[in-house]
Symmetry: C2
Subunit: 453 residues, 2 copies
C-alpha cells in the first residue's frame, strides 16, 4: 500500500539493503514497486549502484524503468552495459519508447544499438525515424493486437493470452483484412462479456475514428480529449494500420503543448526540456530575441512621447499618468488575448466566430471601460490633487484605451491563426507593446482637445 509520502521512506530501506548487499531482499522489494518510483530511486544512486539495481529487475520492469529514465541516464547506463545487455534492454522496450530514445542518442550509440538488432527490426526503426517531429507517426507504437474478421472470440482470446503481455494495450484490438487495411475495432470488454463462439466481425465496431501518420500530435490530443479514448489507431494514406497511440503518451503531449503555449505567451522560445535541466546559456538564448525585438519596438512609444514633449512641458502633471495608462491598456489587452488564445487552443473559439468575439469584447469593454474611467477620475481628484480637466483627460483616455486594447487583444490572435501563424505569439508582451503606442496617441489627442494645448 502506498500513498505519495511513503515513497521516500521506502527508498531508505532500499538504501539499507543495498549497503548491506542484501540483494535478495532488495530485489524482492523492488519488484513490488512501480517502475516510475524505481526510476526516481535509481536517480538518487551513482552509476555502479544504479547498474546493480537495474540488474535485479525483471526483464519487463527493466524495460519500463529504462524508458522512464532521462536521456542522459539512459546513455550512461547503456555505456556501462555489455553488448548482450544492450540488446536485451533495447529489445524489451516498446517500439515508441525505443524510437524516442534513438532520436536523441549520439550516433555512436545508435549504431551500437542497430548492430544488435536484426535486419527486419532495423528497417522498421529507420522507417519510424523518418516521420516528421510532432506527427502521429513519431509517437505511435507498433505493439498492438491485430485480429481478423473471421476469427471467433475464443481464437481471439487465445491470441491475447499468448501475446498480450508484450502489447502496450490488449483492451482495444484492431481488426484488419489481408492487406492490413483497418476494418474496425473490438474492445476486450465486449469480448469477455460475449459468447466465445461469436465471430469478431459480428462484434467489431466499424465506424473507427483514426488518424493519419502525418497528422499533428496536437490534433491527435484534441481527438483523445473530445472522445475520451484510451487508444487510437494510426493509418497510412492507404488506410492500412501502421500503429496505435495510447492515452499515456497523449497526456505527455497535452502537458507539453500547454507548456509551449505558456512559454510563447511570455515571449519565450518554447522549450521542451525542463527548466532545472536547461543550461544558463540555453535559457539566455531563448529569452534574448523576443526581449530585443520588444525593446526596439518600444521605440514607437518613445517617438510618440518625444513628439509630444510640448504637451507634457505645458501640463507637466500629464507625465505621471503615463505608466498607469499604458499598464491598464496592456493588462486589459492581455486579458482579452489570453481568453481568445486559450479558447482557440481548446477548440471553444473557431475562426468563424471572430465577429461574435468582436461584438462581445465591444460590450465587455464598454462596461469595464466605464468602471475604470470612473475610478480613475476619482483617484486623480482625491489622491493626486490634479486639476479637474487633467482628471477628465486621464479618465477619458483610460476609457478609450480599454476599448482599443480589448479590440486589439481579441482580434490579433484570430488574425494570426487566419494567417497560419501560432496565435500564442500574439500574447501579453506583443499586445502590450502595441497597446502602449495606441494608448499614448489617444492620451495626447484627448489632452490637446480637452486642455486646449
Amino acid at each position: 500500500m502506498q500513498q505519495g509520502f511513503d515513497v521516500l521512506e521506502k527508498f531508505k530501506y532500499f538504501n539499507e539493503y543495498l549497503k548491506n548487499k542484501d540483494y535478495l531482499r532488495l530485489s524482492d522489494e523492488i519488484r513490488r514497486t512501480n517502475p516510475v518510483d524505481i526510476k526516481d530511486y535509481m536517480q538518487t544512486l551513482d552509476l555502479s549502484q544504479a547498474v546493480i539495481v537495474f540488474r535485479l529487475l525483471t526483464k519487463d520492469d527493466a524495460a519500463e524503468v529504462f524508458a522512464e529514465l532521462d536521456r542522459e541516464d539512459q546513455q550512461r547506463l547503456l555505456e556501462g552495459f555489455s553488448d548482450i545487455e544492450v540488446s536485451t534492454v533495447v529489445n524489451e522496450l516498446y517500439f515508441d519508447d525505443m524510437i524516442d530514445m534513438l532520436e536523441e542518442m549520439p550516433a555512436t550509440l545508435v549504431k551500437r544499438i542497430l548492430k544488435n538488432s536484426d535486419a527486419d527490426e532495423r528497417r522498421r526503426i529507420n522507417m519510424f525515424l523518418k516521420f516528421p517531429e510532432d506527427s502521429a507517426g513519431s509517437i505511435m507504437t507498433t505493439e498492438y493486437i491485430e485480429l481478423k474478421p473471421d476469427m471467433t472470440v475464443k481464437e481471439a482470446l487465445k491470441i491475447i493470452k499468448e501475446t498480450g503481455m508484450d502489447k502496450v494495450t490488449v483492451y482495444t484490438c484492431y481488426v484488419t483484412n489481408e492487406t492490413k487495411v483497418l476494418l474496425g475495432y473490438v474492445s476486450l470488454r465486449v469480448m469477455v462479456t460475449s459468447d466465445v463462439d461469436i465471430k469478431i466481425k459480428d462484434l467489431m465496431y466499424e465506424d473507427v475514428i483514426m488518424v493519419n501518420t502525418h497528422d499533428d500530435q496536437e490534433d491527435v490530443a484534441a481527438i483523445f480529449r473530445k472522445y475520451g479514448f484510451t487508444a487510437l489507431p494510426v493509418v497510412d494514406n492507404e488506410l492500412r494500420l501502421t500503429g496505435i497511440i495510447t492515452v499515456d503518451d497523449i497526456m505527455e503531449v497535452m502537458e507539453m503543448e500547454a507548456t509551449e503555449d505558456f512559454h510563447k505567451m511570455a515571449a519565450l522560445n518554447p522549450e521542451e526540456d525542463s527548466y532545472m535541466d536547461t543550461s544558463v546559456l540555453h535559457l539566455a538564448k531563448n529569452r534574448i530575441p523576443w526581449l530585443l525585438f520588444l525593446m526596439i519596438s518600444a521605440a514607437f512609444s518613445s517617438t510618440i512621447i518625444q513628439s509630444h514633449q510640448m504637451v507634457i512641458q505645458s501640463v507637466i502633471a500629464l507625465n505621471m499618468f503615463i505608466p498607469m495608462i499604458t499598464d491598464s491598456g496592456g493588462n486589459a489587452g492581455s486579458q482579452a488575448s489570453t481568453l481568445v488564445i486559450r479558447g482557440m487552443a481548446t477548440g471553444d473559439i473557431k475562426l468563424t466566430d471572430w465577429i461574435k468575439v468582436l461584438l462581445k469584447e465591444l460590450k465587455v469593454s464598454l462596461l469595464v471601460g466605464s468602471v475604470m474611467c470612473f475610478v480613475a477620475f476619482l483617484k486623480c481628484i482625491l489622491f493626486d490633487n490634479v486639476e479637474i480637466l487633467v482628471a477628465i483627460t486621464v479618465a477619458f483616455t483610460i476609457f478609450f484605451t480599454i476599448m482599443l486594447s480589448k479590440m486589439i487583444g481579441s482580434m490579433l490572435p484570430i488574425l494570426a491563426k487566419k494567417l497560419k501563424f501560432d496565435p500564442a505569439i500574439m500574447a501579453s508582451p506583443l499586445i502590450t507593446t502595441m497597446v502602449d503606442s495606441a494608448a499614448l496617441i489617444v492620451y495626447f489627442k484627448v489632452a490637446t482637445l480637452i486642455l486646449g494645448i
Copy 2:
C-alpha cells in the same frame, strides 16, 4: 470509417432521414456513430427533433449522449421527458456523470430525479453531493469491478462477463476484504494471460497507488501524469474503497487546470465555462477587480515620476525612454515568472529548489542584461541622437532592470507558493506593476549619478 471531416457529411444524411421520417434507417446509422458525434448532431436540432433522435438510441448510448450534453440541453431534454423516461435515462448514467449533473441542476429537477430513485440510491447520491468541489470524491465513480482474494481467475472472469458492461472500466479490477478495505488490484490483461485456476490473491499487485476522497483533483491529475495510469482507486480515511477515477475524466481536469492557470496569469478570475457561453456581464465582472487593483497600484510609478519631475525637466530626453525601460523590465520579469510558475505546476521545480533557481536566474540575467544593455546603447546613439551620457544612463538602467526583474519574477511565485497562495497570481500583470516602480527608481538613481543632476 471516419476521419474528422466526414462527420458533417454524415449529419447531412441524418437530416435527410429525419426530414423523411425514415426513422429505421436513422436509428441504424446513429447506432453506428460515436456518442460524442451524436451529441454534436443533437445540438444542431430543435427540442422536438432532439427528443425524436434521443428516443432512437439504445439505452447505453442514450446515457452516454446525455452525459456529453451541456447542462442547459440536459435540462431541456429532462423537462420534455415523462417520469418513466427520466428515471430510465438517469439510472443508465454512470454515477459520476449523474452527480456532475445533479450538482448544477435547479432544485425542482433534482427533486424529480430523486423521486424516481430508490432509497439506497438516494442515500448514495446525497453522500456524493457532500464531497468538496474539486476533490477526488467529487469526480470519482462507483461503477468498478470488485473481486475477493480467494476467487479464481475463472470466477473473476464470470463476474466480469455478467456485470462488465455496466462498469466504467473492466480493465483494472480491485480486490477488497470483507470490510471493503482495498487489498490490491489485478488487471484484466494479467487475468486473460493467466491460467483460469489461479487465485486472484496470487495475481494481484499489492503496492496500490491510491488517493483519498478529500485529495485535490489537481494532485490526482499529477499522479495520473506521473504513472500513466488509466484508472486510480479512491479510498476513505479507513482505506476502504469508495470509488475510482478514470483517465478520461482526468484529461478534462488537466485541461481545466491549465485554462485556470492561463486565466490567472492574465489577471482574470478563473472561469470554468467556455468563453462563447459566458455572458458579457459575467466576463466584465471577472476582469474588473484585477484591472482596478493594478491601475491603483500604478500609483507607485506615478509618485516616483512626480517626485523626479526635476530630473526630467533638466534632461528632457530622459522622458522618452521610460516606456522602453518599463516594458523591457516587465517582459524580462514575466519570462522568469512564467517559467517558474509552469515549472511548479508540472512538478519540475520544487520549493526547496529556490536557491538553485535564484542562482540560475542571476547568471541568465547577467547574460541577457549585457546583450540588452549593449543594444540599448547603440540604439540611443545611432537612432535617437541623444548625448552619450544619456545613452549610458539608459543602457545601465536596462542592465539593472533586467537583473532586478528576473529576480523578482522568479522569486515571487516561489514565495507565493511557500505562503500557500496560488503561484499563478504572481504572473505578468502583477510582476509588471512591481517591476515598473523598481525600474523607475533605478532609472532616476542612475541618471542623477551619471548626469550629475
